[in-house]
Symmetry: C2
Subunit: 489 residues, 2 copies
Amino acid sequence: MLPFKTLIQTDKTLKLPVYQQIANRLIGLIQEGILKPGLYLPGSRVLAETLTLHRKTVIAAYEELISQDWLVAVPRKGVMVADNLPVIRPRTFRGAASAYGEESAFSFHHIPVAPFMPGVPAGNALVVNDGFPDARLAPLADWVKECRSLIESPRYHKLLMYGNATGSEALRRQMMEYLSNTRGLNLQLPHIMITRGAQMAIYLAAALLIKKDDLVIVGSPDYFFADLCFEQLGARLLRVPVDEEGIDVDAIEQLCSQRKIKMLYLVTHHHHPTTVTLSAARRMKLLEVIRKHKLPVIEDDYDYDFHYSSAPILPLASADHGGNVIYIGSFTKSLGLSIRIGFMIGPADFISEAANLRRLMDLRGDNLSEQALANLLADGTIDRHLKKSNKVYKERRDLLCLLLKKKLGDAVQFTVPAGGMAIWLRFSKKYPLQQVSQKAAALGLRMSSGEQYHYGTPSQNALRFGFASLNNKEIASVVAILEKVLQQW
Amino acid sequence: MLPFKTLIQTDKTLKLPVYQQIANRLIGLIQEGILKPGLYLPGSRVLAETLTLHRKTVIAAYEELISQDWLVAVPRKGVMVADNLPVIRPRTFRGAASAYGEESAFSFHHIPVAPFMPGVPAGNALVVNDGFPDARLAPLADWVKECRSLIESPRYHKLLMYGNATGSEALRRQMMEYLSNTRGLNLQLPHIMITRGAQMAIYLAAALLIKKDDLVIVGSPDYFFADLCFEQLGARLLRVPVDEEGIDVDAIEQLCSQRKIKMLYLVTHHHHPTTVTLSAARRMKLLEVIRKHKLPVIEDDYDYDFHYSSAPILPLASADHGGNVIYIGSFTKSLGLSIRIGFMIGPADFISEAANLRRLMDLRGDNLSEQALANLLADGTIDRHLKKSNKVYKERRDLLCLLLKKKLGDAVQFTVPAGGMAIWLRFSKKYPLQQVSQKAAALGLRMSSGEQYHYGTPSQNALRFGFASLNNKEIASVVAILEKVLQQW
């Protein structure tokens, strides 16, 4: 008899029933070639004694394996390893180690990445993020209440069983009204698709447009996750400067008259990372360029709902762009980053293909969340939340700007952003951001070293300094730590 | 004076404040070239009279546009259209129509689609779906309770502000235990990634492996959304027959010795669409082929947790596959389709690249849902739910099989599936499925015409007949309708 006591070890403290542990181990021994096809196993009584287990446990294991066709019960002879199994040359007597290690046995594509982004803070460290909303302000109680009442209503079980790649019709109908009220966009249902956040919309739109080596115009600097996405899809990026009025439209026009440009990506409000808003004059000029060159545009307006100095400026999508603008936005910033609902607006045929592609990546949307958002839009909750948080974020922006000026003085430079959730904070050359962020970490403040914002562009020794998620006390603490850090020079 | 009464129409019933409606319309008129740079607008009193509005409303609109740089207030002269704006040649006097129509102005890729899938039923129609779970059984009350308590705990606001592309660490730690208990998989954290359902995992894994014109082996028939995904990524599909023991492993071996195969995709339990489970003998043989040819495999085991005739068979991933198997599964079937949480297991370097790619498509996971699932796994809720629903689904499978045999007799053929949520139901040639489904629809039953299951393969006049989401009464009604339908021949 094989040394079953060594070969089969069981552990009663595991959740997996012991008979199942035995069955799994026997399969392993068959697969490793230790138990060969045609071999008779010990009788259940004998094996039970060997393993000091109850006989019923061994019988259960054998029965399991018989039903799975690993073993065969031969009348009057006992239990045999199925003889239709391939014969395997045994390799070792130890149990198979995990087949997963550090490195793959095969090769695969490398995906470009951006450097460090601050993640979840360890313990109670303060975090300056990229411009996230404050989840403490989000209408989460309303959100959960809405989800609960949807789930409790019997007819809404359908919501949990279906769902489609374009998004819930109820939400798309609400979006028609919401986008008309807030952006003057007059749309029909086939122009609207719900996505997981703005990023999925960017990926889908770009994947439908870009072929290998296509030329894509982006800002310098630009939203690095968009750049990485276009490059991953095979595009070659042409960078156009972004100044205090936004992206340089003359430079775009020049490129369009010289070369075949596949598309333009831009952020019209609160450009990422610099926070500048595209000026009225440039918007008009850009609309002309778009129409003249039939230039497809991805207008990323992720931050539209957060604007403090005036009402937000109407997007390009609301003007006469000749059907060339794909318009992208998000509710993620209103609801907390963990609840990811964004949208894409475009011509009906484009939206329909985008839904086909989304289906391959992510079958369907989250019907329950989408219906909950539709209801919160309909009953005015989202609107009230936006009004309230705009007020709070404006105060936080003003406080941070005030304190930065007062406490850090000439060490930093910035323009007060008209909206959004972050300041584009440039440090003077004396204070290299890499060192600033290291020293800040030592004092309990996590902040970016700024590298990711300069992906493919010259460093401005700058970072996005998110203010929206910090309350007044936290803002004061953050600036106080930075003040201490700069005193170390 | 321009005919402002015609040009600017306001509507007090809209949610958008009237001053904002005026401002938006003035922007439109400037962009259309009707109001030219340098033009002086009527005084607020005059315009208010023209539009029969309060003067303050007009002033608010002017102020808004001044702050947005469309208008300039010139001391002692009035309000002028900013003269730094580009001059536009006016086109028409009517308001700009929606710039979005049926068709795009630009060209884009076409995405392959599968034919009809039954969607949300209109009214109270019965639906035979692809094999969905019954949301009425899902532990939704526990789910919502868990989400609520997470949201109400102050420290969990962090959950809503962060999250990453690999998934919540808490859930990945629970997965280590769960996959060890249920599948005998011994893993470390870097081998585990949480995705949105199994489909996202398939897309990510395939996108990392496939280059244009790579050869990929799939079943005939095969899960059509996987086929479409591989084709979209540029692969050429080599189809290998699936019979009552699962995919033909000898045919796979032959292909591997003849040509350079990039990867193999297969469903080991309850193959989609045919529901057959890969036999023990073929699994062993396949493991040999995988090791010998260093063949990367995507093992899609979406249905592992639902197996009725015995315990499920251990996946290829649990055996010695030389690090070549990417293992994919899902919790979507336990929680209702609307809550999409799946996972991918692989070598650490592969999982890390997959997370980079996921970040470009969908920034981050849903931290809140992932933490909620982790808690429900830890407290045994998921385990209890699986036990309960396995019992119910087994009964439903047996009832459906019984009634199909009894009521439809020779008109249909099927093998009782060992698990999963659907029967692979073949209709005899006398009853073409397209006609069956049309006639059924007329009697209030929506079911697939079967086309999508034969994507790229010869028709078997068959469909996946989901039983899990139908209770006993509904199963009886469905079969009764089918009986009536077949009587029409």
